[in-house]
């Protein structure tokens, strides 16, 4: 992509005005996107992206310049622009170490998406749509979107790090609208992986279509959700979304260092129920949030955040790790060359317990069963959050009964973690795109079935 000698030269240029550290992040990305809407392939899009960002650190400040030209002239100009933001000429200027290349990583992929004919990809979308429609006559609209990409990155820094990786990604998403007697409901399913077409052996397109349709159809019979405080059982995977939103963001070191996290100063405390062990792991093979290196060239790793309820970890990128005098946890991520890296989750999981999921429900006299959560939002400063419930049911006398709609869950991260009183053994994951500071990165969230002893449910049925 870029000759290592040129990289070295660009790094030197970037440090010429007194920066203490410089980094080049360059990428070339090829992608295919196909959309099927109501039985019609609407678009087939072939995309080519490329660009490089050059970062210079001086003190705690960062200067960044990016361009989508990868030739020597443009890279040098970007380096000079970034260097030009540094106004402290000379003092503490960093030197550029000789680059030590880590072996380039190519993920083991059995069937790379780039080698699969477009005809086959188009057929996957058709299978998903057909299965969604076959589920129930109320299925009115089906949207299927397929995307694959291969991102080649080169990350080099003035401390001598040089990482190269080819990152394959593939995803199929189904969105279904069901209509009956004037009631409209939607369903969503979107499995994804850092892998090739073998993803669809585990998650066949037809199953994805069917699962999305099931949610929409089930919710047609939904009554307005009850509102108020009650026990809430989260279905497998749903607790992972909660963990991501309500705790994971508050454990990103940038929030903590800005005093904008409810977890600030609480390392070592038992904040969660002893049933809760939570990790972030960017190295899970083939998972959607996985990379060999983070976007600063650090190897990814498994970081334990909660160990049997005790807060024991947080997520670092380079800058925030330096600030605390610890190694980066390999969580420096960015959407593309056009973005500065920030601490981000990768694959964040609450690990499985030992209770059977049916026993969790059976021991709940009355409450809400949230089988699938929609997205959510959290204020990391105080831990308050809200989640939509995409598929919810009442629990009555220890049984899952009537579907309810319009529910959402409102609460506070640490308070909810402490209130978890049952963790089942049926671990599952949900794949998504997490947004922070205007950057979307692929993440997966995972958990088994969980019960929160009491939390606020918002709904329309007072």
């Amino acid at each position: 992509m870029i000759d290592p000698e040129l990289v070295q030269e660009v790094l030197r240029e970037a440090l010429a005005t007194g920066g203490r550290f410089a980094e080049v992040f360059a990428e070339v990305r090829a992608s295919t996107t196909i959309r099927l809407d109501n039985g019609r392939i609407e678009e087939v899009v072939a995309g080519g992206d490329r660009g490089a960002g050059i970062r210079v650190l001086y003190g705690d400040a960062q200067a960044y310049a990016f361009t989508n030209r990868l030739d020597a002239t443009s890279l040098r100009e970007a380096a000079r622009t970034a260097a030009g933001a540094v106004r402290r000429g000379g003092a503490g200027a960093g030197a550029v170490a000789d680059l030590r290349a880590a072996p380039p990583v190519r993920h083991e992929v059995e069937r790379p998406a780039a080698e699969i004919p477009r005809e086959w990809k188009v057929a996957w979308l058709g299978e998903a749509e057909e299965a969604a429609r076959a589920l129930d006559p109320s299925v009115r609209q089906v949207l299927i979107a397929y995307t694959d990409s291969l991102q080649r990155v080169l990350i080099a820094s003035s401390d001598g790090r040089l990482a190269r990786e080819e990152r394959p990604r593939i995803r199929l998403v189904a969105q279904v609208v069901a209509v009956r007697d004037g009631v409209i409901q939607t369903g969503f399913e979107g499995p994804a992986g850092a892998t090739g077409a073998e993803l669809f052996d585990r998650r066949p397109p037809a199953e994805t279509g069917r699962l999305a349709a099931r949610v929409a159809v089930a919710m047609l019979d939904g009554r307005p959700s009850p509102a108020g405080e009650m026990p809430v059982v989260l279905g497998p995977g749903g607790g992972g979304v909660l963990f991501h939103e309500a705790c994971g963001h508050g454990l990103e070191a940038d929030h903590i260092q800005k005093d904008a996290s409810v977890f600030k100063g609480r390392q070592g405390e038992r904040l969660a129920s002893p049933l809760v062990t939570g990790v972030d792991d960017g190295s899970v093979p083939e998972a959607w949030g996985t990379n060999a290196f983070d976007d600063e060239g650090m190897p990814t790793q498994r970081t334990v955040l909660f160990d049997e309820g005790r807060l024991v970890g947080q997520l670092y990128d380079r800058l925030r790790a330096e600030h605390d005098g610890v190694p980066s946890t390999g969580n420096g991520r960015r959407q593309s060359y056009a973005h500065l890296p920030v601490p981000r989750m990768t694959n964040s999981y609450i690990l499985a317990g030992s209770t059977r999921p049916e026993d969790v429900v059976a021991s709940t006299p009355r409450g809400l069963y949230a089988r699938t959560l929609g997205g959510g939002q959290v204020n990391p400063a105080n831990g308050d959050f809200v989640f939509g419930v995409a598929e919810g049911y009442l629990i009555e006398d220890g049984r899952i009964t009537a579907p309810v709609r319009g529910a959402n869950l409102i609460g506070n991260g640490p308070a909810i973690l402490a209130a978890i009183d049952a963790v089942a053994d049926d671990f599952d994951t949900r794949d998504g795109v997490c947004g922070k500071e205007g950057q979307g990165v692929p993440v997966s969230n995972g958990s088994p079935t969980l019960r929160i002893a009491r939390m606020t449910v918002g709904g329309t049925d007072v």
């Binding site: 196909i34 019609r40 392939i41 609407e42 087939v44 899009v45 072939a46 995309g47 080519g48 992206d49 490329r50 660009g51 400040a61 960062q62 200067a63 960044y64 310049a65 990016f66 989508n68 030209r69 622009t81 933001a85 477009r118 005809e119 609208v177 209509v179 409209i184 939607t186 509102a227 108020g228 405080e229 800005k258 005093d259 904008a260 056009a338 959560l373 929609g374 997205g375 959510g376 939002q377 204020n379 400063a381 105080n382 308050d384 959050f385 809200v386 989640f387 939509g388 995409a390 709609r405 319009g406 959402n408 409102i410 506070n412 606020t456 449910v457 918002g458 709904g459 329309t460 007072v462």
Partner: protein, 448 residues
């Protein structure tokens, strides 16, 4: 001919047979400065270019894009789009608009903004942070204070005409202030957008963020009940962002809008008028032509509570047998044009926000909603979202409220609107959305 129109011309020349080829090229420069503790925390400077090619052959659409291609690479990009079109279903509504000369819209590009030295912009960001932390005794720091600007050139040409080209420049500040009391921290956001540094209302944004953070301190959960709700302009604009999806003809034609069968009918209280106006210079979404080269204009969507129509691009308009409303939109050169608002806003009423509060008496004032993207659906119209705000007692703002949700359906809210304020303000999300303070007769507010 500019560098962009040259790229576009290469694409149009590469058209084969009777296929239609459209080229959309952009070039942008941008700067963003983030400060903390009086120092620059991050400064980002960028220069990017790209080209998107749409080929329509026999009603089938194919698309390809490339970041910063050379003129020599353009024919291969056209071939890639053509190859994609083979797999798409034909639709006679897939056609490119005729590109006619467009009335220019002066005032979108201030050369002084691009020419202003970076030092001045950094100083502005530092002043912004200082203003936020000195605006209120409970606010001693910010989570973020940023200044940004961008200058974008856009060119469109096709086998049906052009090239068209325009240039715009915008600057903005955004600030998230943190208010503290004991262990409690509350965040408050505000921002300003303008087309020149002189008209950028950064001091108002700083004061607004501080005030919005400080007044949430000490919040309590409300009891669950039905009450009048007052949405401040930011919260009302958030709801409008969900409604915007229902006003897109694309959603309507695909059966994804609860408004689809209601044209000509009353969908809102007679106080409500919704307008989209791409030539309104006060709105940050103004542009002379849309993202497929059709002139922008003014579209009345709801007039005095009656639904009049929807937003269209060329394809949805062809399907409906009408003219495009100039609402083709793309996120970037990477995407096929969809339908997006330009400046979509609630036409302001005559009452001040204070008068609305006085009229409501006992109510809940909402300054922020969260979880809208998950808790609200423009398809079904149902929503249930988290909210932060204050109680209204005796017509005045009283104690703060936290961990509350408000739930209803979009159509019920529109019909229950009992007052529209005079304080219209634009927000740069989802195109540009504008709303004044809005009084809703009754909604379910859940807490405890």
């Amino acid at each position: 001919m500019s560098d962009l129109t040259d790229l576009c011309a290469r694409a149009v020349e590469a058209a084969a047979g009777d296929e239609q080829v459209e080229a959309y090229a952009t070039a942008s420069r941008s700067l963003e400065v983030r400060v903390r503790g009086g120092e620059v925390e991050a400064l980002t400077s960028a220069e990017t270019r790209g080209l998107g090619i749409r080929v329509i052959a026999g009603g089938r659409v194919g698309y390809a894009y490339e970041a910063d291609p050379s003129p020599e690479e353009v024919p291969a990009l056209v071939a890639s789009a053509r190859e994609g079109a083979r797999f798409a279903e034909p639709d006679p509504a897939n056609e490119l608009p005729a590109l006619e000369p467009v009335e220019p819209l002066p005032g979108l590009f201030d050369p002084a903004l691009a020419a202003a030295p970076t030092e001045r912009k950094v100083a502005l960001a530092v002043d912004l942070e200082r203003a936020a932390v000195s605006a209120h005794p409970k606010v001693r720091k910010v989570e973020r204070a940023s200044y940004g600007d961008s200058a974008v050139r856009v060119a469109v040409a096709s086998t049906r005409g052009g090239p068209l080209e325009h240039e715009r420049a915008d600057c903005w500040v955004s600030v998230a202030a943190l208010a503290e009391r004991g262990d409690e921290t509350q965040a408050g956001f505000d921002f300003a957008v303008a087309r020149s540094l002189e008209s950028l209302a950064w001091e108002r944004a700083a004061g607004g963020a501080a005030e919005r953070a400080a007044r949430l301190l000490g919040g309590v959960k409300p009891a669950t009940e039905r009450l009048p709700v007052i949405l401040d302009p930011a919260a009302a604009a958030s709801f409008l962002s969900v409604l915007a999806g229902s006003l897109s003809a694309e959603a309507v034609q695909k059966g994804r809008s609860p408004l689809a069968p209601l044209v000509g009918e009353r969908v809102a209280s007679d106080l409500v008028s919704l307008v989209d106006d791409g030539r309104l210079l006060e709105g940050p979404g103004a542009a002379p032509f849309d993202d497929e080269g059709v002139a922008t204009g003014r579209t009345a969507l709801v007039e005095d509570g009656v639904l009049r129509g929807f937003l269209h691009n060329q394809t949805t308009a062809a399907r409906a047998g009408i003219r495009s409303t100039g609402n083709a939109g793309r996120n970037s050169y990477r995407t096929v044009p969809g339908v997006t608002p330009t400046n979509l806003f609630f036409a302001p009423g005559s009452e001040s926000p204070e008068a609305l509060l006085a009229r409501a008496g006992r109510a809940v004032y909402v300054q922020e909603v969260s979880g809208l993207h998950s808790g609200a659906s423009s398809v079904s119209g149902d929503f249930s979202v988290g909210a932060a705000g204050l109680r209204v007692e005796g017509g005045a703002l009283a104690e703060p409220l936290r961990e509350m949700t408000i739930a209803s359906t979009l159509l019920d809210v529109l019909k229950a609107i009992a007052g529209v304020g005079s304080d219209l303000r634009f927000f740069p999300f989802g195109g540009a959305l504008g709303a004044p303070t809005v009084l809703v007769g009754e909604m379910t507010v859940a807490g405890t």
